[in-house]
């Protein structure tokens, strides 16, 4: 659906997007994820035509749109600020795109009614934007962008202005809407949780480049480098040295002297050093020795942070490494873990991700 081919965009000395190539499939929900300044919004704006690449080409639905102005592209955008026209009612805002396309009045009225139904804005058609709540404005922006039936819908952090609860709800609704319409969505966010929840695929950007492209589970469980590992979810990143490779097992010594068995196949070649990634929820913490864990070591809970459904624990292993772990909250049948407790930590070697050290 979208073919981005080694596209570069500079602003003065700053290279916002650097030789990026990316193919977006038809009907896919693709998220551009990265910290602010990583180039994700610039990339999106080049898809909508609000910015023009310095080099490279962009094709949408087979057509070269690299230098096409936004009003000649069959692509619509949901803006971060919503950008609703303050002088037009909800109905006129939504119908704006159809009016620009000179859609016949009857058809326009029918399509607006349909989309109003779709985003559950019935009864609000005659309101002005300033009379709506944040969530309603968001729906109007969404309706306005999908009613012209674009081949691609671009969303620039559309949920960032909503409060946490509404944001969660809209994530689910957006995903549902996308499935129902079968429309290609390109979604920009800096919120990794949002990206994981909604996307078919996620492109992680850093300093103008795509550093990893894959499904949500891919980038979470198998991050390609330390940046992705650290940016997505919580991560214990531990520097480790190769100890030995014998009989199909590889052992490494982590900083602080903790020795761990790591998956042989993933150790990078004959490197002496590597980074080990341990997701906090992969650590099995218990007062009794954990069964079936290839790596088992003792630790002390130095901090306990209550997070509602979960407890966040900071552990100091006897070998001196500091790790964070996430465990389910205590319950009648689950043991309670508290600050100062001595515990066993179990870690299966397949739950360890080995990353190149540099």
């Amino acid at each position: 659906m979208i073919e981005i081919d080694s596209v570069t965009k500079r602003f003065g000395d700053f290279t916002a997007v650097n030789e990026v190539s990316l193919h977006v499939r038809a009907g896919e929900f693709l998220t551009l994820l990265g910290p602010s300044g990583c180039g994700k919004t610039t990339l999106l704006r080049m898809l909508s035509g609000l910015e023009t690449p310095d080099s490279g080409t962009i094709r949408i639905a087979g057509e070269d749109v690299t230098h096409l102005p936004p009003y000649r592209r069959n692509v619509n955008q949901v803006f971060q600020s919503y950008a609703l026209f303050p002088h037009l009612s909800v109905r006129d805002n939504i119908a704006f795109g159809l009016r620009m396309q000179k859609t016949p009045k009857d058809e326009s009225r029918r399509r607006v009614a349909e989309v109003v139904e779709l985003v559950a804005l019935g009864g609000f058609e005659d309101r002005m934007p300033h009379q709506l709540s944040g969530g309603q404005r968001q729906r109007v922006a969404l309706a306005r962008a999908i009613v012209p039936n674009p081949s691609v819908l671009l969303l620039d952090e559309p949920l960032s202005a909503l409060d946490a609860k509404l944001r969660k709800q809209m994530q689910v609704e957006l995903k549902r809407l996308q499935k129902r319409l079968g429309m290609t969505f390109v979604f920009v966010t800096h919120d990794q949780e949002e990206a994981l929840t909604m996307s078919d695929r996620v492109a992680v950007l850093d300093r103008g480049r795509i550093v990893q492209l894959g499904s949500a589970t891919d980038i979470y469980h198998r991050p390609g480098n330390a940046f992705v590992a650290d940016f997505i979810g919580e991560a214990n990143l531990i520097r480790a040295e190769l100890v030995n490779r014998e009989n199909g097992t590889t052992r490494a010594r982590a900083e602080g002297g903790l020795e761990l068995r790591v998956p042989t196949t993933s150790w990078p070649g004959d490197a002496k050093q590597a980074l080990l990634l341990v997701r906090p929820e992969k650590l099995c913490v218990s007062k009794k020795p954990v069964e079936g864990a290839e790596n088992l070591f003792e630790a002390t809970i130095v901090e306990e942070i209550f997070q509602g459904a979960f407890d966040h624990l900071v552990l100091r292993t006897d070998a001196g490494a500091v790790l964070s772990a996430v465990v389910p909250n205590e319950s009648a049948i689950m043991e309670a873990l508290h600050e100062g407790d001595r515990v066993w930590c179990g870690l299966h070697c397949d739950d360890l991700v080995v990353l190149s050290a540099d």
């Binding site: 909508s48 035509g49 609000l50 102005p69 936004p70 009003y71 692509v75 619509n76 955008q77 803006f79 600020s81 950008a83 609703l84 026209f85 303050p86 002088h87 037009l88 009612s89 704006f96 795109g97 620009m100 396309q101 002005m128 306005r144 962008a145 012209p148």
Partner: protein
């Protein structure tokens, strides 16, 4: 209602003034009562009086002064004609000011903030010089042996394009040039104020939804800067219609506008009552044009509320 200068009277926290509010307002109210309401009432009283010997005012109640304005004498209604001409010149001035000032105000508002301030400064700088001196400068430019004709001669435009030096001074053209020059900032500033508030994302959104530059201008930019346009029009039209200094200096006696006629009644003809009647008609005309503009502006912005 919407204020003309993009007013923020929608503020839901706006409260009715209590005691302290009135105390703070008192100096202003006193000033208005003393220097606006009272003189207007005196003017109204004068307008029904008549001129005695040596210009003394003889009070009474007669419509004679108004009849002199609105009834034809010798088949001509010179005062109505002058009024009409005044409206025409002021209207033309307003139109030209909007046509020139709108793009300027828009342009300045769309610059980066640091540059914006410097450009606004350029708009204000002429105000540092006395208005009369600037008008005299225009005389020096437009007169027969002035700067403009000098340039035309030096460049060969005279006699090749124009056979004769241009006789601009003391013509309606000169008056309109002077008026446009004097009132241009009064369009630029309010247009700037409303354009500066316009969120650039709205223009992008309109482009994104398929509107080309012209349609964006018509559908988004004009409606959202309308308060600035209306304020600018009002700020130009109302004073331009009564202006007498520029018409005096640049139009000579040949292009009298209503302001000049009124001034003459008071200073030369010493017919205070007739001058007062002209003044009353003139004031009513202001109120009327204000109401019309306000209604036009309000009708359009009503939807935006």
């Amino acid at each position: 209602m919407h204020g003309f200068l993009g007013g923020a009277s929608d503020n839901p926290h706006a409260r009715r003034p209590r005691v302290w509010g009135w105390v703070l307002l008192a100096p202003m109210l006193a000033w208005l009562a003393l220097f606006v309401v009272a003189p207007a009432l005196i003017l109204l009283a004068y307008s029904f009086a008549s001129r005695g010997a040596l210009g003394a005012v003889q009070f009474g109640f007669s419509w004679d002064n108004y009849a002199r304005i609105f009834l034809p004498s010798d088949g001509r209604m010179i005062y109505v004609d002058i009024l009409r001409r005044s409206i025409g010149y002021a209207g033309l001035t307003t139109l030209l000011c909007v046509m020139i000032g709108y793009p300027v105000g828009w342009f300045i508002a769309r610059r980066p903030p640091a540059l914006r301030e410097r450009l606004l400064m350029l708009v204000m700088i002429p105000f540092w010089t006395s208005f009369l001196i600037r008008t005299y400068a225009w005389i020096a430019i437009l007169k027969r042996e002035g700067l403009l004709n000098g340039l035309l001669k030096a460049s060969g435009a005279v006699p090749h394009i124009f056979p004769e030096p241009l006789d601009l001074l003391y013509t309606p053209t000169a008056v309109v040039i002077g008026l446009v020059y004097a009132y241009l900032p009064f369009v630029i500033l309010p247009v700037y104020a409303s354009a500066e508030k316009l969120d650039g994302a709205l223009i992008e959104a309109a482009h994104d939804l398929g509107a080309g530059p012209l349609r964006v201008f018509r559908e988004v930019v004009v409606p959202l800067t309308r308060p600035g346009i209306t304020a600018g029009m009002l700020l130009v039209f109302v004073p331009a219609i009564g202006m007498f200094a520029i018409t005096d200096l640049m139009g000579g006696a040949r292009v009298p506008m209503i302001g000049n006629v009124i001034q003459n009644q008071f200073t030369k003809a010493l017919n205070f009552p007739f001058g007062a009647a002209l003044g009353v008609v003139f004031t009513l005309l202001f109120v009327l044009s204000y109401a019309v503009l306000r209604w036009l502006g309000g009708r359009k912005t009503e939807k935006a509320k």
